[in-house]
Symmetry: D2
Subunit: 240 residues, 4 copies
């Protein structure tokens, strides 16, 4: 059974009644609920728990980590970021949602600024599938339409994704690479754009389907473990 | 249950006693046997059957097609090649083995000459995993060693693979991109180098593991079916 | 001096007064004119010339071939397509414009259907730069805006581009990967979406700049010529 | 005129007579000399200079930075690494040589451990060109042979390169992705494997040619400068 940990900053929910109304138990709980129905073993963790809820024990027990953060990226301890980074390289899956583009862990994995354009204007987003053969879009239509979302626009300062799965159209005139896969070490990373805290995006069935698929795609398996460092020759070397 | 069709030219087996000794029932049977043990529903098809064993009915019932050909690529009818091509674009998985690099279907899917260097000299091949996070190398070690194989050397005239999984080292001094994935339409394609007819390569457990993994990776799922052609606007267009 | 051949089907110009009004000397002449100013040695060729204007002599003298076709793809002889294909693999640059997505040569190089959505509705297109480090966007702004263009929408059935340079936003609600690079053999290919025959797109200075840059990016140089076929070992092989 | 800064740790040269014999004026001087002949404006900088020779002024005047480091990666100040990182995202080219794979700046740009196998055994390396159409291999043959080099072997823990240009064969039985390009922000990065300090690798004419080509490929140009942050809509948004 795949073990998923849903991490959430959980701050907007405390401060903004509008967000609390949509996600009364927090964004993490909303995500955890639909993942449980998909037969994953799900736990949640939040910023204000000790070690942000990401102790060594918890991380070692996590197959796939889902990350939602926004206003408190700077409060995430570097030590925890280092541990999550190492776990990804060792094979743990990582799904970065929405404003997590600016999280320490995503920036560390990308090596770029991860900057972008944004606008809060209750505008329409339409996520077009550009890679229909990808497991992450199984069961999804040609596009997903969200009546109201925050806009994120290009240029998105990321390395070219290993696979580009979704491109978003926004009512206000922008486009965005909104579903991007990356391999890092033995781990797989998926960035998925939607999910501004003031909209009920994570209750959308197709968005839920994509995140569920992404858990399957990023989950670790019995992959080769590279050996690094000084290596004996496998073949005879002729002395010159 | 995944339905696999193993296609083989099946000519060397008829003409060359050395090949017949290794593969008395043909390369296709050897491959089919280990795939059956992996719980796939497996059929075989060969060049000299009507429609090369690839009738519409058979193709429509095939989730993943495995292809081994060498000396008779030219005898494969263009009509069958067109059908297989369309099936790949529609989502059927395709695994091209060894000398299939020069098959009509692989060249059509690649758009290049697919040419390479080669040598039959009973030399050692070592296939190094360069993408340890890929499902195709699940359960495999850091490398696979084959005591004797035909050499294939760079430059291999293919489009840069979407994912490069294996790179081979050869005793005689060459390297080769020996495990390459491609997405074409809704279909997934895997090229895997090993398997010259005069060596018992397809009895090697790790080679069997890779091909088995590749069936899982290339198999179709419930992917979005793009609609092409003239499209009505989804948004109102301002007349200018 | 880089030698460019601009190939044009040149049929709409003969039949449609609206097109003739915009491009009285043909689309090929409009393109040739701005390329000449960029100090290239430019020639034109059209469908109705002998060998479509693409004799061996002309092809061998062409560093970069630009291709515009639409309603008469089927009239392009397979023999000429084969020659152009071989020249690309040998290093000739190829720039495919707009409706050339359905040309025989582009489909042959891609290995897919190259199908897409389309609509003629005088709608706005905005081409966003998603790869600002690419030579093809030198001197261009964050985006190029075209007041009226034909819409092309995803899914665009192409292999994932080696480099994705532009993504288009359309007023009617679609997106499109509108600037795509590919390497094939020793040759480089650039697909660039804009240029429907009923709009004066090729007079737009930024569009001209992109095509000019693309000539520089695709032009051949003194690249290694791979040797294919049976190869002697470079190292001693131990007999087993 | 392209401005190149060659940065070298310059420690082996002080401590190891064997290295001093090969590079009496330091590895940086050897590299600077052949680049000057290629008509670049070349400066050098070393670890023990103030700010490691990489003041703001110098960095701002650098089009392409070449980096050689090995035993003192930890002594490079984080502040300088941050500045170099920002300059790359802003468009400065970066060429990382050999043991620079473990430099702070390369690891920061890659987001992975950049670990690998290694061995010092005076063994033969043969770098095969796998992307003959790339400007970085202009004027080079099918492969480059180095009689004696340090071995670097897979798995090399890097993100899949945007373009894989060279793959190395080693006498002792390993392979390595030895020429890799990456785009990061507006900047271009090239990793090139050869150049262990105890071998005269940087006097090899083909190695010099590759590094010279890489300066041309990574140098900045007049690229679009993305605007980030809160953005006004370009189109009217319908209030819902």
């Amino acid at each position: 059974m795949v073990k998923v940990t849903v991490w959430n900053e959980n701050r907007h929910e405390q401060k903004n009644p509008k967000v609390r109304e949509i996600y009364p138990e927090g964004i993490h709980s909303a995500i955890a609920k639909f993942l449980e129905k998909a037969d994953f073993e799900v736990q949640t963790a939040t910023l204000d728990e000790p070690e942000h809820g990401l102790s060594d024990e918890r991380l070692n027990e996590t197959d796939v980590l889902i990350w939602w953060g926004h206003i408190a990226h700077a409060e995430v301890s570097d030590e925890v970021v280092e541990k999550v980074h190492q776990r990804v390289l060792d094979g743990m899956g990582l799904i970065i949602l929405h404003s997590g583009h600016f999280s320490k862990i995503f920036k560390k994995l990308m090596g770029t600024s991860c900057d972008l354009k944004w606008r809060e204007a209750d505008e329409k987003e339409r996520l077009w599938v550009v890679e229909p053969s990808h497991p992450i879009v199984e069961g999804v239509g040609e596009y997903i339409e969200l009546e109201k979302e925050e806009m994120y626009g290009e240029h998105f300062d990321i390395p070219a994704p290993d696979e580009l799965v979704f491109v978003s159209w926004f009512e206000g005139g922008e486009v965005f690479r909104s579903g991007c896969t990356y391999r890092r070490g033995k781990g797989k990373v998926f960035y998925f754009r939607p999910g501004h805290e003031t909209y009920p995006t994570y209750f959308n069935k197709e968005i839920q389907r994509v995140i569920t698929n992404a858990v399957h795609w990023t989950k670790p398996a019995d992959h080769p473990t590279p050996v690094y460092g000084n290596a004996k020759p496998l073949e005879k070397i002729t002395k010159k």
